[in-house]
Point group: C2
Chain length 395, copies 2
Amino acid sequence: MLNETYREMLQHKNVIRELSEFATARGKEIGYENVFDFSLGNPSLEAPASFTEKMTELLRTKNTMTLHGYTPTLGNPRFKEAAAESLNKRYGMHYTAQHIFPTTGAAGAVAHSVRAISKPGDEVIVIAPYFSEYTPYVEGAGCVKKVVPADTEAFQINFEELEKTFSEKTAAVLINTPNNPSGVVYTSETLTQLADMLHKQSERFGHVIYLITDEPYRDIIFEGVESPYVSSFYPHTLSCYSFAKSMSIPGERLGYVAVHPDCEGADVIVPMCGQISRGLGHNCPPSVIMQAVAEVIDDVSDLSVYETNMNLIYETLRELDMPCVKPGGTFYIFPKAAEEDAVAFCKKATAYDLILVPSDGFGVKGFFRMAYCVDTEKVKRAMPRFKQFITETYR
Amino acid sequence: MLNETYREMLQHKNVIRELSEFATARGKEIGYENVFDFSLGNPSLEAPASFTEKMTELLRTKNTMTLHGYTPTLGNPRFKEAAAESLNKRYGMHYTAQHIFPTTGAAGAVAHSVRAISKPGDEVIVIAPYFSEYTPYVEGAGCVKKVVPADTEAFQINFEELEKTFSEKTAAVLINTPNNPSGVVYTSETLTQLADMLHKQSERFGHVIYLITDEPYRDIIFEGVESPYVSSFYPHTLSCYSFAKSMSIPGERLGYVAVHPDCEGADVIVPMCGQISRGLGHNCPPSVIMQAVAEVIDDVSDLSVYETNMNLIYETLRELDMPCVKPGGTFYIFPKAAEEDAVAFCKKATAYDLILVPSDGFGVKGFFRMAYCVDTEKVKRAMPRFKQFITETYR
């Protein structure tokens, strides 16, 4: 019989999907270029030319069996080595290829990480605002998601609330920095305090509490913002990365888990991920993509566009006196909505062809997310419309 | 804490892995060309030239955002359409794009299918000999694998045993034709009888029992062998395919589930797979591969090599009077071992640098599998060695 859990998931009212459907329908009426769609986190930049060149070269020069054959269960060795070297060089770490497990994007990385360090019934703590897909990743592993309410002043971590959330069932804390949806980067102070608390709570409960850090936006950092490498603060850290955003290749599904070399179980977590993969039917990201990315691993798209867009939006918000924590990276901004009910706010915005996402799905009420991975030209055209929406509706 | 289930899986003695490690080590000593390694199902053929050409053309002509951007949750529309059209044309079916869910290989297809039509605790029936990875796919969904003992005469289905295996908990029967490891193709008679039994048992228990058919070898069929399309026999069928073997691109992880249009839940199973994917962190096969394969979907590698290899081995077995059901397709053959203990038999073969896989992991004792996806030249060189092994050891 059909699985009722998954069938029932289809019935859930999904605000983002409704907004996206509205955007598509409206686009057909007035042209999609006239719909100011800030709902989707789909990179708007070209992939680095070096990636395309490397792909073309591989297709021209390599035997198809080498290029498209099965990858070893634990991943392409050259890719793993390149990822480890890149992290060591950039962050002073000491990973080896054996600490890297390639995955289908950061999604696969988080899903594997949670399964590796928990058993069904355990708790995984997430910090609001958090990426809404953490719910299926955590629940898919049979774990219970515990939410720490947001620090709405700075979107760092509300440590008082976090401290109360630990229990003997806590397997891990799952964080996301630079953060989707807030755009905020956790500071060194935040990460130091988090590491201290994790050490203390691990000792209190007599077992290591892991830190899973989801970092697909690690390379999108704005001017003057310090971006500390999370794993260097706490040894029991699994760092989840994706090339989706830095290289603008989200559809190719390439990411990895980097297991801290000093982590408890550092020698077995990657092989365990290989076993987890079997049951999920996941079995490795695409071979040719791994081989190409291995050779251009530090190259990125021209990411400066996102900062330009962020500044345009941030200034508009300031002009309108709308409270907003300035993003330190990503391509998201997370201002306070002009009324308490963020869903109502975003629905009203559609009358101005503005597609904004209410904060409720991210575990906090009264804010909205704008994804500014769109053409700067469109952001510029959208700002007067946004002002019009706010002044006509709320002033 | 580390998940003990996955950690414990690392301790399992894995005969295939041991053999593969022996082959690698021995290859370093005497040159891998002198190790007659028949252990791995890794295609030995070039991908179709049209695939490489299409990939190159896409990289040259398409905007990288179109090429590498996020795919819609339920898959690339053009790929889904091409897959449906191809099946309709070849097998007289009436699929639409809405019945196709693209997956990371047949592995992802089977893993999703089992989850879609079962709940934890349900039973999934497999027919020995069966692909050993069915165990993690079925158990990963929380289901119980029930094994029907092999029909060792013909490697069709032992219906007397199958009939006894159904219970009120049966969610599905999972078959694999053309079969890994036997190489046998289920006949129309077998599939008709199977469909009859599924109808009868569904009625008996008051719920539809699904048929999941794993068909990555569907396009590797030898001369004169009839290869019926499984889904045309029973409406409640989920057909799992992969381009790994037909196009020799296993590392690129592209396959699909095709949900029979008359299946119970035909309208919801693909969207449910989308929900399942979220929890697994699977989220779509690679974009550029889907786009390329969509345009060359009916092209295959020069698959005739496998039949040449099969005939060489089959003749040798006949010369040695070793019982063997002649394969109708795939690149596997599954002869009776020359002693009862197939593991002992395969271990003795290594003294002759022959790497053969004992049948125990496929749910039947006393046979061995040879994967002849190797150069014909190597098969030719291996045959005298195989004869020497048998005559010196057993005659």
